[in-house]
Symmetry: C2
Subunit: 332 residues, 2 copies
């Protein structure tokens, strides 16, 4: 568990896209984001107050979160001085970079000297159990995609936010780096040992009140041969009651696999349902989430209506139109 609130470190991010993690925190847990820290040359702006470490301290910040990724995921030399300073001033530091904080001797020494924590959210810190498949109380919704990176995390976060807005019981359950930094906890599923993947998902989505919903962040795709095993573990460990199909309509092939076509939404539905029924015979596909970022307003609306008619399921772009209809469609 990472202590909140955060100061978002944007470093020398060349653009907004490089600060995707900071953007996620800003969008989904604005209360956690007190300010931003930028180095000379930074072109990203979260619209938060720029703060020195001293100002952040006075504002109650507990953790400096690296909200930027550069090529290769390394910790730049220019960043290290700030990170060491932050540790010296009593902040923890959290990162989802490939280059681990714990592999930087200077940072390890500073953290030790000042009694602070380094959080590398790519590395599991829990000894997860082997899945036992026992039925758990409460409800679970899992976003599954026709491909990787089609908006599964966004969909789950939007549904969680909508349920909370309505005063309903809801948790977002993070399974990736960004999600974990957004919420401060979760399971870095792609870094878990094969035998314990499904058990890690069971651990992440435990027994709960009968009217509580977990919105589980999806990973990979059953149709993406590099990561389909991770997706499978989410489907069986998560034993979802509801599935949301996620899609990006302009993609021409599976991400990183030029020889692989995307499945249709019908293929995804017909493939995932029988597999999900193994863990939960009552599971239903309840909605469709389409990432229409690449389309104009009219084009997007036309496409959503076409898919909704074809599939007979509420179809929205939660970024454009909110997740109300996806939440409305969840079973009681």
């Amino acid at each position: 568990m990472i202590e909140t609130p955060y100061l978002l470190f944007l470093g020398d991010a060349p653009d907004r896209l490089a600060a995707k993690v900071a953007q996620g925190i800003r969008d989904w847990r604005p209360d956690n984001a007190v300010g931003q820290f930028r180095l000379p040359g930074c072109n990203a702006d979260m619209g938060l107050p720029d703060m020195t470490l001293e100002e952040a301290k006075s504002a109650g910040v507990k953790t400096l979160v690296i909200g930027v990724a550069n090529r290769g995921g390394v910790i730049a030399e220019s960043w290290k001085a700030v990170l060491k300073d932050a540790l010296a001033q009593g902040f923890d530091v959290a990162s989802g970079l490939h280059n681990l904080l714990r592999d930087e001797p200077e940072l390890v020494a500073a953290a030790k000297e000042h009694g602070r924590a380094l959080h590398d959210v790519r590395v599991p810190t829990v000894r997860y159990p082997i899945a036992d498949g026992k039925k758990r109380g409460g409800k679970r919704c899992l976003a599954v995609g026709t491909d990787c990176s089609v908006g599964k995390m966004y969909t789950a976060l939007a549904m969680d936010m909508e349920m909370k807005k309505r005063g309903l019981k809801s948790s977002f359950r993070a399974t990736g780096q960004t999600g974990i930094l957004v919420t401060g906890e979760g399971v870095p599923l792609d870094a878990v040992i094969a035998d314990f993947m499904a058990g890690a998902v069971e651990w992440l989505t435990p027994d709960n009140e009968l009217d509580h919903w977990d919105h589980i962040e999806g990973q990979g795709s059953l149709f993406h041969v590099s990561y389909s095993g991770v997706t499978m573990a989410l489907i069986h460990g998560g034993q979802p009651d509801a599935l949301i199909l996620c899609h990006e309509p302009t993609r021409t092939h599976m991400r990183g696999l030029p020889d692989y076509d995307l499945p249709t939404l019908e293929q995804l539905r017909d493939t995932v349902l029988p597999l999900a029924r193994i863990a939960n015979p009552a599971v239903q596909v309840t909605g469709i989430s389409v990432n229409t970022a690449a389309l104009g307003d009219d084009e997007a609306e036309l496409l959503l209506r076409e898919i909704e008619d074809r599939m007979g399921l509420p179809t929205v772009d939660p970024y454009r139109h909110g997740a109300e209809r996806l939440v409305d469609a969840l079973p009681a």
Copy 2:
């Protein structure tokens, strides 16, 4: 790669079942098994010459393989003296136990002193790539099961042996501890990090001559919620041309999951085929392997004939009747 041939260490195995690993090596790589080493109280017998370490040395043995598992998979104190002796006399030591050789300071010290290797086959030693899904030359056969522990390894080994007997190009590709100790190499798939599972299978079954067959050891089951992700990675990383359905007809529920029924062979076929087609559109289910160990001769024959009629596929128990018909049915 573990150096052969082996001396099989049976320790104080209370019965034959406890020496399953030794039995596997004895059955499938008899040329690798020069002798056995037994402690007082051992009730297992591989029918190999009992040898002292000195005799094994003269016979050309390179590695002492722990062929026995006791409850909990620990390395008994009574074994350690022998293992240390073996290292001192110039043998490597290999083990598939949970209790790692490398976690025993006395053994580590002895190995270092005498320049010998400790092989813990449960631990991956390779940095596997992320799967790229590229089509590889050569043919691949994967055994998939209605449940765990239904004879998938045995089926793959029997098919490999039959092909070699016919002078055909064939490799058994081990994905579990016993298989790795049998062949001296492989991937301990259940211990691989989630993101690299499918890539590890691609690495294990590389591009090959067009008429070469890999017989890939299966793991888990698509219907076993604890391990289905591992099975999925084998199906997509292995991009099999042929699938063999494996079944144990007397099981009353999924192994370790009392609330989960076994699927029928039809369900397994209809579930695995569309998933396997994602990686290889030409994949076929070519045969069925039934573990009839719990049945009498007549009962077994009746059952095999009934399944064969029902499914329209060659159906054998390779342990009882050999794998000839499974090999005959592989596509050209």
